[in-house]
């Protein structure tokens, strides 16, 4: 980067949006990667969580800002990362004060990012943090390759899932052409292979709740509830149509929105649980649903991550598709399906649904049938009890009641 300062100025009406979206990002990851690039035509803030099972990217377009660094050189200028913790305190200040002006200053010389808050009464507060130059954070996924796509207002989605307690680790979506069910993951598998059937409830939605409902493949996917709730924290501020893209287990679910009138858009990619092979990691149910595959990513994988081509938000570009976490990002899709095939042979007996082969999209009917049958038995809205529930009622369920 050149030895100069990049200054972005936000008008007061956009400050709240900026603060709120950045607040969501600080919750979803430990470091925030910032990139200013002419290719994306915006300033993007990205983060991925520690286990690399979620990826988030929010891009602010040129019009979001009142002032934009004047530089007509057609090359990428800012590529750095900052600590999410430091960012959180700055964002907290942004959200709690009434600002007349907010400036972001990237000082290349000192490797310092300053949030300059112009508050009322001529008070100026500056929160600054160090940044580290790095390569951009990028996940590979192809939005066009997903078979299912639904759009729903984010506030509606928030209301539907509001009563799901944050203590639950995962949330399951079962979608068919006629129904969209949001529920808790069916069972918890403990260390000693004992299965606990616990209290469950579900929300059943009809397609007319959605702005857009296009299901071509009956899905049953499970992903992390906690991060999903953080994401929906944005819904209070912006009630926007949010598009969900998903299909088979193991493939990540993508949430994206485009706030055209506010000049920014966001994309969130969460890993979903694939079929487990035999024993489940006990920590799986406790916190991160990152055990999508055999191993989680480490730093080396992240390096490979960055070598991929960009697949930017809202644009249809070719790119290899892969879910955010995987055993090795360098695998092509062919290899991935090999792994999936291995999984089918060691299927967890509790999981009735097989994984599918990516390329083999036509053989989904089996799974679809299975799913359908299960659904028709469980078409009760509200409490759904398992047989062993009396014995296994835990504290959580008590609170639910």
């Amino acid at each position: 980067m050149t030895e100069k300062k990049f200054i972005f100025v936000l008008p007061p009406e956009h400050v709240r949006h900026f603060g709120k979206t950045l607040q969501v990002l600080t919750k979803l990851g430990e470091e925030i990667y910032i990139e200013l690039s002419n290719k994306t035509n915006g300033l993007s803030f990205r983060t991925a969580n520690q286990s690399r099972s979620s990826y988030s990217c929010i891009t602010f377009k040129r019009d979001f800002f009142e002032e934009w660094p004047q530089d007509d050189i057609q090359r990428e200028k800012i590529k750095c990362r900052i600590s999410a913790k430091r960012c959180m305190s700055a964002v907290h200040a942004v959200l709690s004060s009434k600002l007349t002006r907010l400036e972001l200053v990237f000082d290349d010389h000192k490797s310092n990012l300053s949030f300059i808050l112009h508050c009322r009464y001529n008070i100026v507060k500056v929160h600054s943090c160090f940044y580290i130059d790095c390569e951009k954070l990028q996940a590979r996924f192809d939005k066009q390759s997903y078979k299912n796509s639904v759009s729903i207002m984010s506030k509606t989605l928030q209301e539907l899932t509001a009563h799901f307690p944050a203590k639950w680790d995962e949330i399951t979506i079962r979608a068919t052409k006629d129904q969209f069910i949001i529920k808790k993951c069916d069972e918890i598998v403990h260390d000693d292979d004992s299965v606990v059937y616990s209290m469950n409830f579900q929300v059943v939605c009809e397609p007319r709740e959605f702005i857009n409902y296009d299901i071509q493949y009956n899905s049953d996917i499970t992903f992390c509830l906690r991060e999903f709730k953080f994401l929906l924290g944005l819904a209070d501020l912006l009630n926007l149509p949010m598009t969900l893209l998903f299909d088979s287990r193991g493939r990540p679910i993508i949430f994206c929105f485009d706030a055209e009138e506010f000049y920014f858009d966001g994309i969130f990619v969460f890993a979903t649980i694939a079929n487990r092979e035999g024993e489940t990691d006990p920590s799986f149910t406790a916190s991160q649903p990152s055990i999508n595959d055999i191993s989680t990513m480490d730093e080396d994988d992240l390096v490979s991550y960055r070598q991929y081509t960009i697949n930017t938000t809202g644009l249809n570009r070719g790119g290899k598709k892969r879910p955010a976490p995987s055993s090795s990002p360098l695998q092509t899709t062919t290899n991935l399906s090999d792994i999936n095939n291995d999984h089918t042979s060691i299927i967890n007996p509790k999981q009735r649904i097989n994984t599918t082969n990516y390329q083999d999209t036509t053989t989904t009917t089996d799974i679809g049938d299975t799913t359908y049958i299960v659904l028709s038995q469980q078409s009760i809205v509200g409490l759904q009890q398992s047989e062993d529930i009396m014995a296994d009622m835990t504290e959580d369920e008590d609170e639910e009641n």
Binding site: S83, K85, R86, S89, H92, A93, S96, S97, N112, C119, Y121, N122, I123, V124, K125, V126, H127, S128, C129, F130
Partner: protein
């Protein structure tokens, strides 16, 4: 102000709760001091702002009450409540003693602290308080609190008096003086990183006139207030000041800001910071709370060390 004999209680005295407020039951001992306040909140809120140590020194003077609290020899908080704030104030003899601050605060709040449902700030109460003190060393400090006909009598042991630090704040040698409106200043301090070790205070004649910097890990937070800000009432600066003070001092400042209407910061040539808060409680006469902080010596030490090491290099 003269130091009197120290008073120490040998035994506790138990009395019934139907003691009349007006007159003490046994005569003979001279009452050194009686003061009556319409609302206990007045005294309680002021004492709360300087409640950063266990003990406090109580001085009854002709001009009013002065309470001194010290912490580890590096910060001193004084509260002055003028005689005109009191409903009645009778002083026969100047007294000075040490008492346990938390006990007195609990007694003053014995009828509870009603909070405003919206702002959660303590509301003024109609608990009247009367303070009696006799010079005789067998008698404790007597507090009588009354609310709606219920009287509570509190007898608090007093302790030996101790010396207090004299910061020797050179009022004639004040280098800079800034007066702020407290609610605006509170807003300015609201986001300052209080986890940092120390806070740098820079006051200069040029822009920015007043700046506080807190260096945390991974970055720093700073607040600038310019001279023309409506928050700043007065600004005087004869020479630029750049000092460091411990962060906890600013926590005390923030605490006192919640009941003050104005804050004055003065720094003398030695770097000692005197923060004075103007507090209006009942009546029109304000009370005053002031803090004295010594600057953190680290800044100067670092400079000295650097100079020493330079000398070594040259010699080599």
């Amino acid at each position: 102000m003269s130091l009197f004999d120290t008073h120490q209680e040998d035994t506790d005295e138990e009395e019934d709760n139907n003691v009349q407020k007006q007159e003490p039951t046994d005569g003979g001992d001279d009452i050194a001091f009686i003061a009556k306040l319409k609302s206990s909140r007045t005294l309680a809120s002021i004492l709360k702002t300087i409640h950063f140590a266990d003990d406090a020194i109580f001085c009854a003077l002709p001009t009013g009450i002065k309470i001194i609290v010290e912490d580890k020899q590096c910060v001193q908080g004084n509260a002055f409540i003028d005689t005109r704030v009191f409903e009645s104030y009778e002083l026969t003899k100047q007294v000075r003693f040490r008492f346990h601050l938390e006990t007195v605060l609990n007694c003053l709040n014995i009828f509870g602290i009603p909070l405003d449902p919206v702002t959660h700030e303590p509301l003024p109460t109609n608990v009247a308080v009367q303070i009696h003190y006799r010079e005789n060393q067998t008698h404790p400090l007597q507090l009588y609190l009354e609310e709606e006909g219920v009287i509570t009598e509190c007898l608090i042991k007093v302790l030996d008096d101790t010396d207090t630090i004299d910061f020797d704040f050179q009022t004639e040698n004040v280098v800079t003086k800034v007066v702020f409106k407290s609610n605006g200043f509170k807003e300015a301090l609201s986001e300052i990183d209080l986890k940092a070790d120390c806070i740098e205070l820079i006051i200069t004649q040029d822009v920015p006139h007043f700046r506080l910097i807190a260096n945390g890990c991974g970055g720093c937070t700073s607040v600038d207030i310019t001279q023309d800000s409506p928050v700043m009432d007065t600004f005087l600066c004869t020479e630029p000041v750049h000092n460091r003070y411990k962060t906890q001092f600013f926590q005390y400042i923030v605490r006192a800001l919640s009941i003050a209407s104005k804050l004055s910061l003065r720094i003398d040539a030695a770097g000692i910071l005197c923060a004075q808060f103007l507090i209006y409680t009942e009546k029109d006469k304000p009370s005053l709370v002031e803090y004295f902080f010594g600057p953190d010596e680290e800044l100067n030490d670092i400079e000295d060390n650097t100079q020493a090491s330079d000398v070594v290099l040259i010699e080599d």
